[in-house]
């Protein structure tokens, strides 16, 4: 049988379910946050890395004229190569369903198709079977990379019509789905990826020859060392086999193309996670001290009948630890499901597989620490203060009305005349318990500041997308399958109804020759009229191109981040279509999420590479700019060029391009909104807690008000008003803090993304949060206010 004092502890726990729920909730929020955000973050990072590592990402990729089975085996045997494998990669266009032989390909989507010699052996850039009726796919079957499902609905058994470069059409049956972490997810590049067996090549009119060589090197090698080995492979193995190398790609070793977005995401999670953790700490301090304040008189009674300090301290410690145990249980349980949802969402969007949802041990330890130690630490001071208090003070504590009317704020509030009496009472009540007000405000101000900052970051991201969009000033552009005469392309384009202006550009792959002899082949050069009407270059340094001035280039920020050695004013050496020459960097423009690009005056580039007026890209402006109008223009252009026997490889509208930007930043925006919601909920719990405590402690006052004729409605109103007053104060302070906070957050994200983010303070966000926070305040005060209005005079006077 337990002794009376432990029974008291137990009944304090079970006797006030609402109060216990509040305390547990305020502790559980912290535990929940740690589980979801910290746990989720750790699992995401771990699983992403595990999946990426298991995929054996290529260190070097060669796009070539073609080779047979023997070459990869030969390269794999080199002492400096760990593995090598060949595939045939083809850019195709496709349409769902069966399409007639002569139907136009206008509006068809891009399909990155890989013919894989051996699906199971595949030691480089592994393809993981997800759900496929046959593996490897049989002739005439295609397996789609599962991110295709993020942009369109496909199911096994569907038929897609595919057309290759040779204009041969072929119907392929979808045999299922596979996962390839090294493929850019469909939603990010606007093209889906698919895999076929070598047997299927013939029906597509393709040669059964490999053209893409992936090589794995020692992962500890630097990018430069890898580039040197790549050059050696090209010059020895490939050259000896008579294979012509078209492009060598050497990614930063160990880096994934979504690494930047992933980094931004995890940074965001960390920042918000730490904020919520801090907030829940304040919340716990507020509620636990309130409970202790309520217990001071009982503490005095116990001491007056002989309780030693250590005994009383033990009792309250046990109470707080019990709150903690329940909170850890609740927080972990709720956190587990939310964490799984978060991981599944993020893994789905970023296209990686999660095999183990279990968070690391330290997250568990942190959970227990947050659930147990934080409340105990929060309670330590009130408990000590309570047990050290003179019994006579403790006994009278319940009768002590907090002093009002002495401070500066009180005098100001007292001086405000003409307020309706209940409003004045609410206002002054709010400032009655200044310590608690300060803690509640701190919690709510921080939550408000972060929510508003997050909303500003969201607006800034959307602004960034907008800015990128307005950088471009076209309605539709068409990529030509091979260089074609500028005059004929523009002539045909101008015949398309609605087209008001045209421009043709030369796009070419370029090699940047580094001073150390290595080269970066991952650079594109765009030859465009210096007085182009189709982009509005936003210079971050130097100046834009001048017409017909030879030897000048403008680079984008991505070039500088890939090649940190280059500065404005430097001379760089570029190899374009076999011609090597020196160029002076006269200007730098912001990155456009398109990778490193060098801009050159079209006529200058034409002369340099002796293009003879042949171009590869057509851009048009049209009279209408709606999504539908742009899509129509693009289709009409495709049809027109097709009819004129000018082969194309694809088209894009500006709206579609904007959508691609938006979807890349969209993940972050979604996360921001989810996290803002989490913060808002902490605010709700905090405010509800404070209001409930205030009502509990004001029971006697409420009784007095009732005895002098206050109606249920007016008492209800007084407490609702009090909640709203707190919320509006928090909103005002939070709005001010959110400005510098959002700047910091934006800079942090821009750093993680390696992207220049626009900044736009979200006035809408601030107003939205005002509406929300007032709604939250009304909601949070509803239950306490209702309880207050139900207090009978008898209960109020006898309240202990």
């Amino acid at each position: 049988m337990s002794s009376p004092r432990w029974r008291k502890v137990f009944r304090d726990l079970t006797g006030h379910p609402v109060r216990t729920a509040l305390v547990v909730l305020s502790i559980a929020v912290g535990v929940f946050t740690v589980s979801v955000i910290m746990g989720g973050r750790e699992v995401l990072i771990r699983e992403f890395e595990a999946d990426f590592r298991a995929s054996v990402a290529p260190s070097v990729e060669f796009d070539t004229s073609g080779f047979d089975d023997g070459l990869p085996k030969q390269v794999a045997e080199r002492h400096d190569v760990l593995a090598a494998e060949g595939r045939r990669n083809m850019a195709m266009r496709f349409a769902p369903g069966e399409v007639g032989k002569n139907a136009s390909t206008a509006g068809w989507e891009t399909l990155q198709l890989s013919a894989v010699p051996d699906f199971d052996r595949s030691g480089v850039q592994k393809i993981v079977r997800e759900e496929a009726s046959s593996w490897p796919p049989r002739p005439g079957e295609i397996i789609l990379e599962k991110s295709a499902l993020m942009v369109d609905s496909f199911s096994a058994g569907d038929v897609v019509t595919v057309e290759g470069a040779a204009s041969k059409r072929c119907e392929l049956r979808v045999a299922g789905f596979a996962h390839d972490i090294n493929t850019i997810p469909a939603q990010f590049q606007g093209a889906i990826a698919g895999y076929i067996s070598m047997d299927t090549l013939q029906s597509l009119g393709e040669h059964e020859v490999l053209n893409h060589l992936s090589v794995v090197l020692d992962p500890t090698l630097s990018r430069q060392a890898a580039t040197r080995i790549a050059a050696d492979i090209r010059d020895t193995d490939l050259a000896a086999a008579g294979v012509q190398t078209l492009l060598i790609t050497v990614p930063e070793p160990g880096s994934h193309f979504l690494g930047d977005i992933f980094k931004a995401l995890t940074t965001l999670l960390l920042v918000i996670g730490l904020t919520v953790l801090g907030l829940s700490g304040f919340l716990v301090i507020t509620t636990v001290s309130a409970i202790m304040t309520q217990q001071v008189r009982q503490l005095g009674i116990m001491k007056s009948i002989g309780a030693r300090r250590i005994q009383v301290e033990g009792m309250y410690l046990a109470l707080v630890v019990s709150f903690g145990v329940i909170a850890v249980f609740v927080g972990l349980l709720a956190g587990r499901y939310a964490c799984q949802a978060l991981i599944e969402y993020a893994a789905g969007i970023l296209n990686f597989r999660v095999t183990d949802m279990m968070p690391p041990v330290w997250v568990m330890v942190l959970n227990v620490a947050v659930g147990m130690f934080v409340p105990v630490a929060a309670a330590a001071w009130p408990i000590t203060r309570g047990t050290r208090m003179r019994v006579v003070r403790a006994l009278n504590a319940a009768n002590e009305v907090p002093r009002f009317g002495y401070g500066f704020v009180d005098r100001i509030l007292g001086a405000i005349k003409g307020l309706p009496r209940p409003v004045a009472l609410s206002l002054r009540n709010t400032f009655l318990r200044k310590g608690r007000l300060a803690l509640t405000l701190l919690t709510l101000v921080l939550a408000s500041a972060v929510v508003m900052a997050v909303l500003t970051v969201r607006t800034s991201m959307l602004q960034t997308v907008d800015d990128m969009g307005s950088w471009w000033n076209y309605d539709a552009q068409v990529f030509l399958a091979r260089p074609l005469p500028s005059e004929s392309v523009e002539r045909e384009a101008k015949r398309v109804p609605g087209v008001t202006a045209t421009e043709t550009w030369i796009q070419a792959q370029a090699s940047l020759m580094r001073p150390d002899g290595t080269e970066n082949q991952g650079i594109y050069v765009l030859g465009l009229p210096a007085d182009t009407k189709f982009i509005k270059p936003e210079l971050t340094g130097g100046r834009w191109l001048e017409p017909d001035v030879v030897g000048e280039v403008v680079v984008n920020a991505d070039v500088l981040s890939e090649e940190p050695g280059i500065r404005l004013g430097d001379t760089i050496r570029l190899g374009i279509r076999g011609v090597e020459d020196d160029w002076k960097v006269v200007g730098v423009v912001a990155g456009q999420m398109m990778g490193p690009i060098v801009f050159v005056d079209r006529k200058v580039l034409d002369a340099e590479i002796s293009a003879g007026g042949a171009v590869t890209r057509l851009l048009v402006q049209a009279s209408e700019h709606t999504i539908d109008a742009q899509v129509r223009t693009a289709r009409d252009l495709e049809t027109r060029l097709d009819d004129a026997s000018l082969p194309i490889s694809g088209s894009q509208t500006q709206q579609a391009q904007k959508k691609t930007y938006a979807s890349q930043l969209g993940i972050l925006i979604t996360f921001l909104v989810v996290l803002a919601g989490l913060l808002a909920s902490v605010g709700v719990i905090g405010l509800t807690g404070t209001m409930t405590m205030n009502v509990l402690e004001s029971t006697r006052e409420i009784g007095v008000m009732r005895s002098v004729g206050a109606s249920h409605a007016s008492i209800f109103g007084i407490y609702i008003t009090e909640g709203v007053v707190v919320a509006v104060m928090a909103w005002m302070l939070g709005a001010v803090i959110s400005w510098p906070l959002s700047r910091v957050l934006n800079t942090l994200l821009a750093g993680a993304l390696g992207l220049q983010l626009s900044y736009r303070f979200s006035v809408e966000g601030v107003l939205l949060w005002l509406v929300l926070v007032v709604a939250i305040a009304v909601f949070a005060s509803m239950l306490p206010a209702w309880r207050a209005s139900r207090v009978s005079i008898r209960d109020a006077i006898s309240y202990e």
């Binding site: 009376p4 001491k303 007056s304 002989g306 309780a307 250590i310 019994v391």
Partner: protein
Amino acid sequence: MTMFGIWMFGGKKRTGAAAGAVAAGDSVATGSGAAATSAIAGAAAGSTTAAGNGAADRPLIHFDSVVKVYDTGEVPFTALKGVDLRVEPGEFVGLIGKSGSGKTTLINMLTGIDHPTSGEIWVDGTPVHSLGENALAIWRGKTIGVVFQFFQLLPTLTVAENVMLPMDFCNVYKPEERVDVAMALLEQIEMADQADKLPAALSGGQQQRVAIARALANDPPIIAADEPTGNLDSKTADVVFSSFEELVARGKTIVMVTHDGDLAARVTRALHVADGEIIEDRRREGAEAP
């Protein structure tokens, strides 16, 4: 009918337990505080016999120039202006006076729930004025049973549990005996049938009787009561007062604050307090100083 008619204070079993504590110093005060406070425990337990062994030169309660100044308001307020007081074992002392005269402050000095600004308070050989909060709590638990005007029962504990709580804190009686002791105390105040109720379910008079039973839980030699009848109707007040008379008859020393003139006339010694001083010390006719 008096409800304490069958009370066994000073009876064999309980005196034995207390006396045994003096001799062996184990069964009463065990646990962590025992060593540090053995002198206190001894003093407390020994008091039961103090009346018998004629320690006449040292009164049970001795106030020497006790001053209490409150400086919580705008101007410091002197509640006690150098009070001297001697109370012998077995006295039933009534502190009477107007509201604000200092009588509650005086009794709070005696119980140690408030601290004097200057002066000395000796209770049964213990310098109460120099004890820390913790030592005070332990000392009080065994030496003084406190009864408050507003009963001050713990709302979440039942009647029986409230009575057992002091035994629990001071580790008096074996845990399995405590229920029986508490039930015996409750039977004697005719509250045994309410043992499992929560205080909120009881009337004021019933709550005060439970508070008295709780004050007696550790068999202290002194009972200090601050307006114990102030919140009760006159009939119930009379019953409660009668119970105090019974306790005095059994050898307890009682100090009680009251402003009820009728009750004040029934104590053996009435101290009139005004403006922080004892202005009158009147013994009832026929009542000798023990």
